[in-house]
């Protein structure tokens, strides 16, 4: 068994150069358009049907929220008891509810409350969450410990019960903002946690160290390098959260402590549909369906965006 033995079939041989080719070492690609992270994500999203479905759902709910007149000329608050629970008919495609209001009009007008609560709560939670999470993640030390305990406190308090108490405190002066503030008060800690860990991960990257070696200081690095790289998980979570905040609003309205009764809202309509569910299921079906489709639009969007932004899933 000498290592110098040459076995049959293991003689020195080499392949034809024409056949194998050689090529320059390390050539720069120049046949493709430049690919930024978000550009690549967009290219990938375009090919996913789910992306287009959720985009259409989101667009539709935004249109309903902004321009309900486009969809119906009926007044959602014009109710005639004589029409109570009437089946769908010409001009009233979804029929009437218990009070004799047009369900189609109420479903269209209900979008505004849901979507605005969702969007505003998301913006407020993200603003607070990103600021707190960035400070905790970047500074570390006592700021981090303090923030972790504060978020723990918010997780320890049962949300729905606390929301009922707060809404009850503002019983007389309840507006859409009361709901937004209550949801954000319990929404930001989750975003702060996500932002914190994304920032901690990004701040250890070598490009941040390289920028520090250039003399670029703390918060400039934060804005230029760390936050843009930490953005992906926050964007994904914010999209999903927007959907879940809409559900939360509906739940509060269902419990009778959400939006003031003067505002047309899906949650309140679903709650009032309960007593007539056996006679007229359509009263429940349409507001619930609209709510589910809107929320579905946002959480599906969050899901596909996560896949598109995740470098692990791409390779």
């Amino acid at each position: 068994m000498s290592k110098d033995t040459i076995y049959p079939g293991q003689e020195h041989s080499f392949s034809d150069i024409d056949e194998t080719g050689l090529g320059a070492v390390d050539a720069v690609p120049d046949d493709r358009p430049p690919a930024s992270l978000f550009g690549e994500a967009w290219r990938q999203l375009r090919r996913r049907p789910i992306f287009w479905i959720s985009a259409a759902l989101i667009l539709l709910s935004l249109l309903m929220a902004l321009f309900p007149q486009l969809f119906t000329s009926a007044d959602p608050r014009y109710c005639v008891l004589k029409h109570s629970l009437e089946a769908p008919g010409p001009g009233h495609p979804f029929g009437f509810d218990k009070q004799g209001c047009d369900i189609y009009a109420r479903t269209i007008y209900g979008a505004r409350a849901s979507v605005s609560v969702g969007v505003l709560s998301m913006l407020l939670s993200v603003t607070i969450g990103v600021i707190m999470g960035s400070i905790a993640g970047y500074r570390g030390g006592w700021a981090d410990s303090l923030l972790s305990r504060v978020t723990d406190i918010f997780f320890a308090i049962p949300f729905v019960l606390a929301a009922i108490v707060i809404m009850q405190i503002f019983k007389e002066s309840r507006t859409i903002w009361t709901v937004v503030i209550v949801i954000s008060l319990f929404g930001w800690p989750q975003i702060a946690r996500i932002c914190r860990s994304a920032v901690i991960e990004a701040k250890q990257e070598e490009y941040v160290t390289a920028a520090r070696a250039l003399g670029s200081g703390g918060w400039a690095n934060m804005l230029r390098h760390i936050l843009p790289n930490a953005a992906a998980p926050i964007i994904v979570y914010a999209t999903v959260a927007l959907g879940s905040y809409i559900v939360t609003e509906a739940t509060l309205s269902f419990l009778g402590i959400g939006l003031p009764p003067t505002i047309v809202s899906w949650g309140a309509d679903i709650a009032s549909a309960r007593s007539v569910l056996r006679q007229a299921p359509q009263v429940l079906f349409f507001p619930a369906g609209a709510l589910a489709m809107t929320v579905l639009g946002f959480i599906m969007m969050g899901d596909v965006v996560r896949d598109a932004l995740d470098p692990k899933a791409r390779k």
Partner: protein, 590 residues
């Protein structure tokens, strides 16, 4: 090579008499003319991956064979298809990979399209695997002993307490000290080298006829690498196991294997006896590889003709400066970290312990050391990223601790880093243009147009096309990113560039290119380099002065030639001896 074999047999004999007994029948098989029949034969093998845009061939018409007890190596760069060949042999092609043509014969039997059950019978007991990355290849939630035992039980070698005993024995054979106690521990309590020994134990647990070793030591320090490979060689020669090394390192391949298969872009471009290939390469790609392979016999790189001329001009214009013109001096640097010990008690770690050196203008100082030697900490202190516990850094004679924040900011322009990881050192959200422009913006230099012009110049300087400035880091290869990182470091016309393992993560050919580029730039711009590396072969090619560090302390220092020719300390000698293929004379061009 032969020398290694004799010494290893001596050690092996006393170390594993039992294993030898068990392996006796293997050896006999070989003696009985098995020489003529290959253990593994790969014939016209083709492997392709299915992607959204069609099939991508990964291996094209590969042919080679392994005889019982023989050690061969498949050599190639990343993307050459070498790991895919190995995965095809053991039926572990990842994802959408499929064998699309050819045959794999093991012991005369076609195993190209085995069923899952047939593969399960084959794996472990007949073909073993030692995977690449010791950090990710052991399951973190099971003890080491369990993971070895599992292999024995699965292949019906042993059960219960007998399996337990055998597993410990196997770990001992794999060179794990105190195996009885260690087998109860979990992977995170092991160092990289220990984990690799455990993986070798798993791979050889059932005495397979063929062991596939996929870059088994590329993640380890050189001295650890040498010890583990020596040990693996002993074990396999005792057991009569054939070994198929997969490696990017030509030197290592030639030192350990008798037969080489060189792969490039999915094809076998050349194959044959190791020495023959190293000394008489025929395919142009192999020639390139051999020429680029850094080894002991290589010399300090010199700049190209043009660059050398301009360097001459520079040195003429600054002729009043003496040869010993010192840009940077570090005196008695100490850095102490507070860490927590195993039981949570406070401990001091002297990461850097009394380190002094100086760098002359236009030269390269290399700091060499293994992981944990404190070499990167020194670099971070020089760059002002860490504060030294004590000691002083003089920049052109001025102590840096006396500088105001504003002066420190100015000083940063003179000293720029290039880091190891080509995938981490560029912000993936920024275009190449913005990456290179960033230093100019931070230091508020020039107008927009001037900066744009400067970026174009810098790209020329590092031999990247100007069109690259619109691209994003994710689109470039490791070598190209490293060029961008060098361009960024040069943007502010620094005097010193700190290269922290700047070429370690690159393929051999690309590494050679970058080293040449750095040498040319040094001559052209009269730069001084601080070269932080674990790789002595690279040091030989690029450094003038060398410091060897270990556990935070300076072991030895001196001029590069002296140090290699006449190392004073045992540790330095160990490091030099550990360079794979260091002693093999290579083909040196036409």
């Amino acid at each position: 090579m032969l020398q290694a074999e004799t010494s290893s047999q001596a050690v092996g004999a006393q170390e594993a008499a039992e294993v030898q007994e068990q392996a006796q029948d293997h050896v006999q098989e070989q003696a009985n003319g098995a020489d003529l029949k290959p253990l593994l034969e790969v014939k016209d093998l083709e492997v392709a991956f299915q992607s959204s845009t069609g099939t991508v061939p990964a291996v094209r018409k590969a042919n080679f064979s392994i005889y019982p007890g023989q050690t061969i190596a498949i050599v190639g760069e990343s993307g050459s298809g070498k790991s895919t060949v190995a995965a095809a042999v053991i039926g572990l092609l990842p994802g959408t990979g499929k064998v699309t043509g050819g045959q794999i014969l093991f012991d005369g039997k076609d195993i190209t399209h085995c069923t899952r059950k047939e593969y399960e019978d084959l794996r472990g007991s007949k073909i073993g695997l030692v995977p690449q990355d010791p950090m990710s290849n052991l399951n973190p939630v099971w003890s080491i002993g369990f993971q070895v035992r599992e292999a024995l039980v699965a292949n019906n070698i042993a059960k219960g307490s007998e399996a337990h005993k055998l597993a410990i024995q196997m770990l001992e054979h794999a060179g794990l000290p105190d195996a009885e106690r260690r087998s109860k521990q979990y992977p995170h309590e092991f160092s990289g080298g220990m984990r690799q020994r455990a993986l070798i134990g798993i791979g050889l647990a059932c005495h397979p006829k063929l062991l596939i070793a996929d870059e088994p030591t590329s993640a380890l320090d050189v001295t650890v690498q040498k010890r583990i490979l020596d040990h693996l060689e002993n074990l396999t020669s005792e057991l009569g196991t054939a070994v198929m090394f997969i490696t990017h390192d030509l030197g290592l391949a030639a030192e350990r294997a008798s037969y080489l298969v060189v792969m490039h872009r999915g094809r076998v471009v050349e194959s044959g006896p190791s020495l023959e290939i190293l000394q008489n390469p025929r395919h142009p790609y192999t020639k390139r590889l051999v020429q680029a392979a850094p080894s002991l016999s290589s010399q300090r790189l010199s700049a190209g003709v043009e660059a050398a001329q301009s360097a001459h001009e520079v040195s003429d214009s600054s002729s009043e400066q003496s040869d010993s013109d010192e840009v940077l001096r570090a005196e008695n640097l100490v850095k102490v970290f507070d860490i927590r010990g195993a039981k949570g008690e406070k401990q001091e770690l002297r990461a850097v312990d009394d380190v002094s050196f100086s760098i002359r203008r236009g030269t390269t100082l290399a700091i060499v050391g293994e992981s944990g030697s404190g070499k990167s900490t020194v670099a971070n202190i020089l760059l002002g990223l860490l504060k030294a516990t004590s000691g002083e850094v003089y920049y052109e004679g001025v102590p840096s601790s006396t500088l105001s924040a504003a002066d420190m900011f100015k000083l940063r322009r003179k000293m720029q880093p290039v880091f190891q990881n080509p995938y981490g050192s560029l912000d993936p959200m920024m275009s190449i243009y913005r990456c290179i422009e960033e230093p100019l913006r931070i230091h508020k230099i020039g107008t927009r147009e001037e900066r744009e012009k400067r970026v174009a110049e810098l790209l020329d300087l590092v031999s990247l096309p100007r069109s690259a400035m619109r691209r994003y880091p994710g689109e470039l290869s490791g070598g190209q990113r490293q060029r961008v990182a060098i361009a960024r470091a040069l943007a502010l016309n620094p005097e010193i560039v700190v290269l922290d393992e700047a070429v370690s993560a690159l393929d051999v050919l690309v590494q050679a290119q970058i080293l040449q580029l750095l040498t040319d730039l040094q001559a052209e711009l009269n730069l001084s380099y601080l070269f932080i590396t674990h790789d002595l072969a690279v040091v030989r090619q690029s450094a003038d002065e060398v410091i060897v560090m270990r556990d935070g302390k300076m072991v030895e220092s001196g001029s590069c030639e002296d140090l290699f020719a006449n190392p004073q300390e045992d540790y330095t000698r160990d490091l030099i001896a550990a360079i794979p293929g260091g002693s093999i004379p290579l083909w040196s061009g036409n």
